[in-house]
Symmetry: C2
DNA sequence: CTCAAATGTTTGAGCGCTCAAACCGTAACG
DNA sequence: CGTTACGGTTTGAGCGCTCAAACATTTGAG
């Protein structure tokens, strides 16, 4: 606990009676050092409480040993909570791979964000970026590919298969498929879908989730599937589902593209049931809101996704020119406690 | 956009026809450089797209220009969402002060966490730490004070006034006071409190929130205040409130120590009302759950708190021995949209 | 006109590490 | 018994910056 001068490679070397480089080798390339020497050096390291200087290493290796990730400006309501788990996963997986995670504040627009990323990379504060919340009209992947910045996206390159890059995403179709299956097991026979406007037209998260529902419902050989759309807003969702439930062929279950939609759907269902059994609602994201309402919801394995992002990045650090790789992880169904 | 060798202090200096140090001065101590020279150097910097190397600076100044903050292992249910906003606030305020924010994954226990913090500081990855979620029996502040690590806590040093340190906290009493006042304005006359077990005994977040309720209710000169306690769990809270509402002197409003408690209270209130007007519930933290249920909730000004943490830290960097300082920020009442 | 004090700029050294190349014994080979 | 080879180790150089001190140049006072 003494407040000595902090130990350096040289001070440890002197103590162990070897050269600076040998100490470094013990740490970075243990195989190069003879057994006996290694023991002695390790002892010296332990005794002196030596901690290698990160900045010095960064300077010498020209690598930051860090990745950057964006801190969202503000959680857009119900979802967004998933990010906390993502941050933790990144930090954890990063620690295991000698990578630190640095946060940058989401600025006003994409252009400003790209500037920040460039800055982080060029100043040597980060080697790579993890992009979150990517969408089809996202400029960032193309720009980063163009500028040669290493990155991994959490989210598929929707509609940009021509510009491949590393990505990790959750299999939304699989998730809604699980939801439908669960409802079928529960005996539901008319399973509707509540999605976002535009789902199904262009490739997107929404289209993907809708597809999983559609395919599973059709595979079950049930009647013509019913669906509604709404902006990601509980009130709007409630209205949309209310009209869906007032129709002649009212469904007995509703799979939703998000927990926000599920909240609205749930309200509408309870109202429409008028004391009877309301249609069963399944959400997406397994947020506390779904849990609070006692709804089943599709949970994204965020932690796993974060670890995979780190894996892809470390892989690319080692083999910079390997072809782009994408990984799809399966979600799981979360039943309320 | 050319992929030249990245510019350095020397390359810029050569281009501007001055010495290395002058370029450095232009950036760090503009006053030391003559107007004309400065212009010329700035032009050279612009033309060459020079970005100072962070690692080099860190090595030379022996400062990381970064602070560390913990990424929570897992959001404990409803609350915890606040952290996202906190991270963003830290990153934003940090950027304005030349501080980067690095994340570390919350490990299994406090001892392991302290080890990680030590490591970050000793390797020069961070100059200071922002502690989150501090509690009365928290070992971390004392340890960090002892080891001379600079830090700022988001949370008061409950019951540890003997070991002062920098902190920022939200005025919980003020928050519940606002809640009570709001209910009084609404015409409620019997305002109960739902808190956590032990609130009121020892100094703590819970005691603080309870005190705000108690003082405001007493100041209003209403009848003897009623209260209940429950673990931070919706089901437990529901049970606690149910028995509260079944009593003779059932309250017409309930102020809660958290949104999780509020959720339970809300359910109990709706059930007890049996179709009539349920008791009004006010939550704490203004999470999406409260919004989803249409509940009023006390919102913590997280962004402001984060900025204040950075202010305290930068202040301490400049004046390491100034006395410890604590800042209390007032919360605001969030009405559902 | 001289000298000292400003003012502006450069030089030298060093932060702690890693790379590549040089070095040194000793074992294996012809 | 000289030569090559090789595991193990050391040396030199340099990553890009900042500090402190040294060095010019100008200015104002005596």
């Amino acid at each position: 606990m003494a407040a000595h001068e902090p130990a350096t490679l040289d001070s440890v070397a002197a103590r162990a009676g070897v050269s600076r480089q040998t100490v470094s080798n013990v740490l970075r390339h243990p195989a190069r050092v003879a057994e006996a020497t290694r023991e002695r050096v390790l002892a010296a390291i332990r005794e002196s409480g030596y901690r290698p200087s990160l900045p010095a290493r960064q300077l010498a290796t020209r690598r930051a040993h860090a990745i950057a990730v964006r801190a969202e400006r503000q959680q857009d309501g119900i979802s967004g909570l998933v990010l906390d788990a993502f941050y933790h996963g990144l930090a954890e997986a990063g620690q295991d791979n000698g990578l630190r995670v640095v946060l940058y504040a989401q600025p006003a627009d994409e252009a400003a964000e790209l500037e920040i990323i460039d800055d982080l990379v060029q100043t040597g504060a980060a080697d790579a970026v993890v992009l979150t919340a990517t969408s089809a009209d996202d400029q960032r992947p193309a720009y980063l590919s163009g500028s040669g910045t290493t990155f991994c996206a959490f989210g598929r390159p929707w509609g940009h298969d021509d510009e491949p890059h590393d990505w990790v995403d959750v299999d939304g179709a699989r998730g809604t498929g699980l939801a439908v299956q669960h409802l079928l097991d529960l005996g539901r026979r008319s399973i509707a879908y509540l999605g976002w406007p535009g789902d199904g037209a262009e490739p997107s998260t929404g289209s993907d989730r809708r597809r999983g529902w559609l395919e599973t419902v059709e595979a079950a050989g049930l009647g013509a599937p019913v669906e509604a759309r709404s902006l990601n807003d509980a009130a709007a969702a409630e209205a949309a589902v209310a009209s869906l439930l007032s129709g002649a062929d009212a469904p007995d279950a509703i799979v939703c593209a998000s927990d926000t939609l599920a909240l609205g759907a749930h309200r509408a269902a309870v109202a429409a049931a008028g004391g009877g059994t309301p249609a069963t609602v399944v959400g997406f994201d397994a947020t506390p809101v779904a849990a609070a309402l006692g709804l089943v919801s599709v949970a994204q394995p965020i932690d796993q996704a974060a670890h995979l992002c780190i894996d892809l990045l470390t892989g690319r650090f080692e083999t910079p020119d390997r072809p782009a790789r994408g990984v799809l992880v399966p979600p799981v169904l979360h039943l309320p406690a």
